[in-house]
């Protein structure tokens, strides 16, 4: 594995979960600090969070918990690394503090859970995303639909257990070799809004010259230049500011920086003014 992929795969974010309005008198905030993998999803940690906080908020046993950051319900179906890039700034300390809620689930803003079987719900969402990206890459979802039950369970297991070898092994069955890629699954998010854009992105640039499509081309096709000039473009925590001087091909970026759902998630974030 390339050292970039190794670093990404091993990447952690420190998350401080603080209980909203604790009922423990003057003891101060009740909190749990977790190391959460960048390439993972919050619901994989919800069971641990629920167990820890159950004695302070018993309703957490049967009713789904949710996280909030700075007035925004955290969308659990998005990868943790993306949420950190998209939501958490200005960043005073690297540890991201989020508020835990045990009631009043905001169904209108984030996907609901029918039960506290968080992993089962996450599995549905992630497997559907994988089918979607498989379709975009191959022009059909045949490859993933043809995985037998055992392999499809192994793929999910590898995502839950963060098992590189198994994940790579099965994932390469559902993504085409580079020369056969039809379109690249990309989602772009504009920080400070609820805008998420995905558009058909081809490996080759549309100018007819046969050159590679670059991240700059892709971003410019969806966002006005005035916005791009005032923003940072962030992928997997890395800010790619000077796109015009070194703009790697979008296929290359996708294959190095894609998330577990095989999407390249790109954050467009306004630069902080000095």
């Amino acid at each position: 594995m390339s050292s970039i992929q190794q670093k990404l795969w091993d990447g952690y974010i420190h998350i401080r979960v603080v209980l909203d309005s604790p009922k423990n008198g003057d003891e101060g905030p009740i909190e749990l600090v977790l190391s959460v993998r960048r390439l993972s999803y919050f619901p994989l940690y919800f069971e641990e969070i629920a167990q820890f906080f159950a004695r302070y908020c018993p309703e957490i046993i049967d009713s789904p918990l949710w996280l909030e950051y700075d007035g925004a319900p955290v969308q659990w179906h998005l990868p943790v690394g993306l949420l950190y890039d998209l939501l958490y700034f200005p960043r005073t300390v690297p540890c991201w503090t989020v508020k835990l809620h045990c009631s009043e689930y905001p169904r209108q803003f984030i996907l609901p859970f029918q039960s506290v079987d968080y992993k089962a719900h996450l599995k549905l969402v992630v497997m559907n995303s994988l089918k979607q990206s498989c379709f975009v890459l191959n022009g059909s979802s045949r490859l993933i639909m043809n995985l037998n039950r055992e392999k499809s369970d192994q793929l999910w297991g590898a995502i839950v257990q963060h098992n590189w070898v198994v994940h790579k092994d099965i994932n390469q069955e559902i993504i085409p070799i580079t020369s056969k890629i039809q379109r690249i699954p990309i989602k772009m998010y504009l920080s400070g809004t609820s805008t998420m854009i995905q558009s058909p992105v081809y490996p080759e640039s549309s100018d007819g010259g046969g050159g590679a499509n670059t991240l700059q081309d892709v971003v410019e096709a969806s966002f006005p230049q005035s916005l791009i000039d005032k923003s940072s473009i962030i992928i997997q925590g890395i800010s790619l500011d000077d796109l015009s001087t070194a703009s790697p091909s979008i296929v290359e970026l996708w294959s190095l920086f894609k998330h577990l759902d095989n999407f390249l998630h790109v954050t467009i974030r306004p630069k902080e003014q000095e």
Binding site: L111, S141, Q198, S199
Partner: protein, 129 residues
């Protein structure tokens, strides 16, 4: 053909209530304002969605609806739930995957359309596990 906006306007409440899009963090939206960045305007056009029932799920009428591209799939789900008088309905694109309720109709149309229509199949149960 039916226009979804006029169909559901009477009882759907504010748009954000059924589009399942989370508001941004306060600091993030303040920063956006400070930099006077203008987010891209929503796509002006409406797109056609053809609704196809799966298995024993009843068909709805009309089976082709027009919806403004900046709405999310949650709005389509809500339309179907109302027509089918059901609490839950599963929507599929290309008969394979369930899109996220937060995904925009325009984006899905651009990526997965067939003959200028986005074909959405729907089922009261999970159809493609």
């Amino acid at each position: 053909m039916s226009d979804l906006e006029s169909e559901s306007a009477s009882d759907s409440g504010p748009e954000s209530e059924n589009d399942v899009r989370a508001p941004p963090p306060l600091a993030a939206s303040v920063l956006l304002e400070k930099t006077s960045i203008v987010p891209p305007p929503p796509p002006p056009e409406k797109v056609s969605i053809r609704l196809v029932s799966i298995g024993s799920t009843p068909s709805v009428s009309p089976n082709v609806i027009r919806i403004s591209g900046d709405r999310s799939m949650a709005a389509v789900g809500q339309f179907l739930r109302k027509r089918l008088r059901s609490k839950s309905v599963h929507l599929y694109i290309q008969n394979t995957f369930e899109p996220g309720p937060d995904e925009s109709v325009q984006d899905l149309f651009n990526l997965f359309k067939t003959k200028n229509e986005l074909i959405v199949s729907y089922c009261l149960q999970v159809a493609f596990g």
